[in-house]
Symmetry: C2
Subunit: 217 residues, 2 copies
């Protein structure tokens, strides 16, 4: 039996790959796992059937046999624990790769997401530009630290891992802003992630799903 993930019936980004199902698709591709997809409309996402799978009414979810999971970080880690390809064998290196997953999700993504959401949330307020400039500086501070750590390395800690998968996914949110251009090694790092065959397959799959679409349920 292959696992089933849920994805946006129509992603708000129109297929730019920024919805969190892309991270899970990428992990499935890196580990060579086939998967099925179930689309969920914005309306269905807030209904009891989906809330039973995802208490916060979001995507993605992951179902395999009796197991149902939510949170892309948890799903990627679950796949990484069960299939080779996303975590090193050495226990210490494995713990460090997992630390980079948490760093991506709890330290780097929150200021990026806040920056990304703010124009939607308060774009009509006269003070929006002032707030955006403060949030830009906060993102910049994190990117500067990450850039200093990465230096001239290819990946964050040795070979490509679930930590890189998550960090690249988080940084991709900045693609439409100029911020990433200020740190050339981070730009190259993201490009290396996007160049991986598994990422390309994941991206193509979500793009197809978002451009050849069934009508909403």
């Amino acid at each position: 039996m292959i696992p089933t993930i849920t994805v946006f019936e129509r992603s708000p980004d129109g297929g730019r790959g920024l919805a969190r199902d892309t991270r899970v698709r990428w992990a499935l591709e890196e580990t060579g796992q086939a998967y099925a997809v179930r689309c969920v409309s914005f309306r269905a996402m807030k209904q009891p059937a989906h809330l039973a799978l995802h208490p916060f009414g979001q995507i993605p979810t992951f179902e395999e046999g009796d197991l149902a999971l939510f949170e892309s970080g948890a799903i990627v880690l679950h796949l990484a624990h069960r299939h080779p390809g996303l975590l090193p064998d050495d226990p210490d290196a494995r713990a460090r790769a997992i630390a980079w997953m948490f760093a991506a999700l709890n330290t780097v993504e929150p200021p990026i997401l806040e920056r990304e959401q703010t124009p939607y949330a308060v774009g009509d307020r006269p003070w929006c530009a002032e707030l955006l400039s403060i949030l830009d500086d906060r993102v910049r501070a994190r990117l500067s630290q990450l850039s200093a750590h990465l230096g001239r390395s290819e990946w964050l800690d040795g070979a490509f891992s679930a930590g890189d998968l998550m960090m690249v996914s988080v940084l991709l949110r900045l693609k439409s802003l100029a911020l990433l251009d200020e740190f050339s090694n981070l730009g190259s790092y993201v490009a290396r992630g996007e160049d991986r065959p598994a990422y390309r397959r994941a991206f193509a799959a979500q793009l197809l799903a978002n451009t050849q679409k069934q009508p909403p349920v």
Copy 2:
């Protein structure tokens, strides 16, 4: 050899237990592990020696033998994987408990932290109150979903787990605001967490460290 964690030389909250070392102390106490503490000043936190341990210049870090970890989520998960007491034995239940850790850190904490930081970041701007009200509503939306999931259960998914440890820690940030009072089951949930002997020991240890303090290095 016992592990060493780093903590604020002087916590910005003056010992209210909101610094992220409390989460790690709590996990160490739940799993019955002795530990040593090294205090780091704000200045030392941004110096190369500490940045080599924590690329984002924060606390806590965790060192045990050759392993050095950062990110409280990663450290708690590392302890939970290696010692009984924080994760169920059943593989599916274990994956779900880990999902709640990610939910706490990537879905619930970001809007709470944003709400908490905003008065410090833009408290002098005339639009701060307007922004705070928007951020309050965002926190409220998450708490409402979490409250609906928890219902009358004691913990998020069966027995107490690392998922609860992290969720209670995240919700504790709201203690000084009235928001948590709007969801009585969440208030009781947090109180149950605070009542655990392991939490009490962790809280007492950080309080002592923050009130009987060596001078800054």
